[in-house]
Symmetry: C2
Subunit: 255 residues, 2 copies
C-alpha cells in the first residue's frame, strides 16, 4: 500500500461499534453488552466509542436474523425505498441504524464503525475491509498485524468490482469488521472473547495515534479476495458426498 493517512487528515471523533449484527455470534454480543455497562474501556484521550447492539431481536432469539440478513441490507434499495410497513424487521432496523450513525454517504455520518462477527471456520482473527482503496482501515489492519501477535490476522477484501457496499459499517465514513473463529454459533468461548477485546483495544490505540498526528509510513501487505467459488462434490441426486479434510478444518491436531 503506497499511501498513508496524512497528518493533515481530520481526526476521528465519532466512532461506533456494533455487536450482534448477527444475533447468534456471541463474542461481539458479549462485548457490546459488557461495554454498555462499562463504557470507560472504549475511551481514549481524543475520542470515545459508542457501542450498540446491531440486531436486538435476533440477539434475543439467538438466531442470525429474524427476517433477512441485516448485514446485507444497507443498500440504497433497502435504505430509501417507500414506507417500511410490511418490510422485514431488519429493513426497519437498518434504517434506524442509518439514521443514527449515517446517513450513509453523508457528511454527518460517523467517522468509523467496527462490526464484530464470529465464524465456525478456522480462519484466525480475520480483518474484513471493503477494498484496498479504504486507506484508513488498511493502515489500521497493518497496525493490528504488527502489534497484535497472538493469532494470525489475515485481511479479507469483500467488495466485488462495481458492487454497492451493503454491510452495516458502510453507513459510516470508514469501517472494519472482525471475524473470529472457530466458534460455534450460540456459544461464547472465553478465549475468542478475550482475543476480540484485545484486537479492539489495539484498533482504538491506532485511532488515538492517528488523531494525535502520527504519520504512518507506506507499506506492502497481503490480502485475500474472492476469485471463485467451489461447490462440494455431490452424488448424482445432489446430496453432498464429501467433507472438509480434518487437517484443513481444525487448527490443532485432534488425536
Amino acid at each position: 500500500l503506497c499511501s498513508s493517512p496524512s497528518n493533515r487528515s481530520r481526526p476521528l471523533s465519532r466512532v461506533a461499534v456494533s455487536g450482534g449484527t448477527h444475533g447468534n455470534e456471541m463474542s461481539g454480543i458479549y462485548l457490546a453488552k459488557h461495554w454498555l455497562r462499562n463504557p470507560m474501556e472504549l475511551r481514549r484521550g481524543s475520542f470515545a466509542v459508542t457501542p450498540f447492539l446491531g440486531n436486538p431481536r435476533a440477539i434475543e432469539k439467538c438466531v442470525r436474523y429474524v427476517g433477512r440478513d441485516l448485514n446485507r441490507t444497507f443498500t440504497t434499495e433497502f435504505l430509501s425505498s417507500a414506507e417500511a410497513e410490511d418490510k422485514p424487521y431488519e429493513v426497519v432496523r437498518a434504517r434506524e441504524i442509518n439514521q443514527t450513525y449515517g446517513p450513509k454517504g453523508s457528511a454527518q455520518a460517523f467517522d468509523f464503525m467496527f462490526d464484530l462477527h464470529n465464524t465456525t471456520a478456522n480462519m484466525g482473527a480475520c480483518l474484513i475491509v471493503d477494498s484496498e482503496e479504504s486507506l484508513l482501515p488498511m493502515h489500521m489492519c497493518h497496525y493490528i498485524q504488527t502489534h497484535y501477535t497472538r493469532s494470525p490476522c489475515p485481511i479479507y477484501l469483500y467488495k466485488l468490482l462495481g458492487e454497492e457496499t451493503y454491510s452495516i459499517n458502510s453507513v459510516a465514513k470508514a469501517g472494519l469488521a472482525l471475524e473470529l473463529g472457530p466458534q460455534p454459533q450460540q456459544v461464547v468461548r472465553a478465549d475468542l472473547f478475550t482475543q476480540m477485546r484485545d484486537l479492539m483495544a489495539c484498533a482504538l490505540d491506532f485511532i488515538e495515534l492517528f488523531n494525535k498526528g502520527t504519520v504512518f509510513p507506506a507499506f506492502e501487505i497481503e490480502a485475500y479476495k474472492i476469485t471463485g467459488r467451489m461447490d462440494y462434490p455431490r452424488y448424482p441426486d445432489g446430496e453432498i458426498s464429501a467433507m472438509v479434510h480434518p487437517k484443513l478444518q481444525v487448527g490443532v491436531d485432534w488425536k
Copy 2:
C-alpha cells in the same frame, strides 16, 4: 457392575440406528445417509442394522427440531394420546418410529437402538445409557472403553429416579446414545465423523461377540449422573455475567 449378560440370553437380531434425531447434529446425519447408500458396512455375521433418519423435516431445515424436541417425545403421553391432528410434527414422527421399531415396551420391539448426537461441549465421545440397570448397554460401554482408545468415552446415565424414559432409543428393548463433541451445530467435522463411525463399528463387534455366546465377565466402571444444576452468575437484571473458563471449555491450548 456385578452382572454379565449370560450366554443363555437370546441373540440380538433386530438393531436400528438413528442419525439426525436432532436435525442440526451432523455426524449422525452424514453417517446415516452414508449407511443408507452403503448398508454392508453395518452388516455382521449374526445380524444386520437398519439405519434411519430420526427427524427428516428438521434435517432438511438443519435445525434441532421444527415443533418440539423429538428426543423428549417418546413417553406414554405423546405416544398414546388421542389423534395426532394439530400436534407438532415430532409427535406424529415419534408415533411412526414407535410403530416401526417398537412399540415401546412390547415383545415386538427392536432388540437394540443406537442414537447419534453431537454437542458443542468438550466432553469427548460420551456414551449415554438410561441407567446402570441396563446390563447389555453397560457391558457394551465397557467393551467400547476397553477397545476404543482414541478418545475418552465417559458414561452418562441420564434417567432420574422414577422418571419415565423419553428418548428415541427407549422404543427398543435396549439402547445406547453417542454424544460427540465439540462440534458446532450445522457443521460436519471429518475427525468426529470418523470417530463416530469407529465407535459404531466397535459397538457392533460387541453385539456380534454377544450373539456368538461370548461371556463377558463382571467389572467395575465409572459413570456420571446429574447431582444438581448450576446457573451462570448473573447481573441483577438477569443478564449472564460470566463465561466458561477457557481451560475447561476447549480441550486444547488455544494460543
